[in-house]
Subunit: 469 residues, 2 copies
Amino acid sequence: MNHIATAQSLKKPLPATLQTELKSLFGLRFSTAHAMREHHGRDESSYDPMLPDGVVFACSTEEVALIVKLCAREGVPVIPYGTGTSLEGHILALQGGITIDLSQMNAMVAVHQEDLTATVQAGVTRKQLNQELKDTGLFFPIDPGADASLGGMAATRASGTNAVRYGTMRENTLALTVVTADGRIIKTGTRAKKSSAGYDLTRLFVGSEGTLGIITEVTVKLYPQPEAISAAICSFGSIGAAVNAVIETIQMGIPVARVEFLDANGVKAINAHDKLNLPEQPLLLFEFHGSEHGVKEQAEAVQAITTEHGALGFEWATKPEDRTRLWTARHNAYFALLKARPGARAISTDCCVPISRLAECILATRADCEDHKLIYSIIGHVGDGNFHVQMLIDPNDHAEIASAEGVNSRMVTRALGMDGTCTGEHGIGLHKMDFLIEEHGEDAIDIMRTLKHALDPGNIMNPGKIVRW
Amino acid sequence: MNHIATAQSLKKPLPATLQTELKSLFGLRFSTAHAMREHHGRDESSYDPMLPDGVVFACSTEEVALIVKLCAREGVPVIPYGTGTSLEGHILALQGGITIDLSQMNAMVAVHQEDLTATVQAGVTRKQLNQELKDTGLFFPIDPGADASLGGMAATRASGTNAVRYGTMRENTLALTVVTADGRIIKTGTRAKKSSAGYDLTRLFVGSEGTLGIITEVTVKLYPQPEAISAAICSFGSIGAAVNAVIETIQMGIPVARVEFLDANGVKAINAHDKLNLPEQPLLLFEFHGSEHGVKEQAEAVQAITTEHGALGFEWATKPEDRTRLWTARHNAYFALLKARPGARAISTDCCVPISRLAECILATRADCEDHKLIYSIIGHVGDGNFHVQMLIDPNDHAEIASAEGVNSRMVTRALGMDGTCTGEHGIGLHKMDFLIEEHGEDAIDIMRTLKHALDPGNIMNPGKIVRW
């Protein structure tokens, strides 16, 4: 029996007492309607929905703690839900239980402009946060493709296009409020920029995907809006040339704010979706942040490098509206490709390797996609050595699904062989549990399992994800 | 009975069988000589030595694993030792046991110049690492005052003067090799720059001070040596003016590589120790890294800010030898002050607050030192909101010790009240265990204790530190 079937076989009916209690406590904010459960039982992965038994919309950390206490008493699974945009099956209710929707916890708790920090409730999305910050001269850089919630981004250790310069949720989360598996409320840190005070609870919960506790508030670092921003695009005759230009840029220590790669398939998709007419060849998008002069200096250095690697044209996008159009198109790339094949679902995967191995890893993965005649695109946050493969599959075509999963599996093995990781930013969820073992080895996985057992002895926190019980 | 006495009361004699085994396995690399034990039973804190029962010099991860297995079998404490330069009693053998000296594990495992990473054995010191990197064009920025070992720096989540730009061991450690409490060997990560693969074991062990496992190898990020470096110093009529200049520099987002504060007492001490003639007033030392033009731009911006805050003179140190002299003096500050009072010991403490509260926190702490007529200096990595108070005490004068501990305690309470942390970089060790509770609250401490119990069920890994059993 595979992992999913095993976990599902442990599913128990929701106790009637718990249902009555939740109804009396939360009224209309507790729902067992099928549509509501179905909406909360799927993410952006290609898994079929796995429905929770009920959904509660929580409005405060105290409410989350109360729900967890009630569920803990009954041994009922609890799954936190932000925007439902995870990609590896993170929020699927394998064993049923109660999904806690945190989207109504979308208040700004505090912006400390003078300290470059903000504390927000878990349901605040990244776009909302930046909207709230608009008049402060500050911004929050982390931008996964979707307009995800900060709680979800912390829980999955998200990153995005700016990570090459500003880091990921790992580096940018200062503190969390967390509801533990027994319903206690803890704070994992302070607003100090650094600390040597004891075990790093913040980073233990960042990336734990709801399996150790539920994140209800997030304190993040903010950054001054750069004095100057410019963007540039250039195309290449081959993927290798494009990626080698990036490798050299990073090795030279040029502090690019963003450097994104799209293969020809990716460019085609965004051309169609966003009505652009970019050359349908491997493409790099750069963004530079700094002083007027600094931005110019960086762009010139990058232009020299890309030219040396045979870039075809190096076009500037200095006007904010042009930049916005390009980056919006980049952020839409995932959905743009999906539209390219109506009725298809996407198997989306990512890995991350040391930068010197990036071209080799991408090229081999591309050859594998071609060999299997898949409809795919490869796009990536290549400055970090991180890339994504998105494969469109017919959900009824088992052979095609098997081909795509084969490409995924070989890509991970390839990345691990290069001393890379099985996922740079998508996380483990359900889909990469075996790869996690391949990456870490049984002993390290055993340490992870020990942590899970210690912090969630009843196995109620998003059970069946990351490590097998 | 206080914590130390309680822990010491649990001390058991070293089993004779273990002694025989260690002697036969390690020969002269195992010692029970008093001088050897005394050397390993003290750090740079003001605690009296607490001696281990024996010291083993390990040469490999496998040897460390073997020692831990033997000690685990007998329930004997194991304490890792790098350079003995920790400041809060981290390596004191509260309950005796075996200290594993890792200083002979000082091999470079791999330098991946093309990926900006290095893997070293735990005993490699920061200066050795940079010496080894000299011809690569790369460097490792993290620089606690002492020439500490990388293993010790990871174990205490060290930082130093460059952290404001480059981060701490938290941000710069990619992966660790760790020997667990039952003597297994695990790798906590890969060389990928980012990862969402499961629980963040790397950051769980970074800062765990040997209480969860023993770090035997460290993989760190490296950085290209900047194209240009310049340094500048300026003095101020008051501490407030100096610190406010720093606050504004950080709020403006100027990417200074270093900004260090010394109060007049600190300047006096380094003048005497390093034969300098700096004005004996509050002082800021800046360093700028970047392109020729970028460095100039940063320095001009900082000069404008410091002038606005009444800086007296803004002097450049562009020659490498002048810069080195200044930074060597800064790194000697701790020992310089110690020399100012022969026979004295130092109670050295640190805290870290959100930058906007830094001036207020330093000024109140200084007033407290003055009120208690202590011999002290305040120096700090002020760009991070982190500062140190070093108080020289006569080890036989209990009233003086109590005054210094009072200043320390009130400083921590003050920092916590400002949403800061009880230690920015020194760590918890023995000395700050109560402050850790004050900072995190009982429930979060209970989570830390749960982690300790889960990963070290026999309580043999550096017992009695960070959290009470």
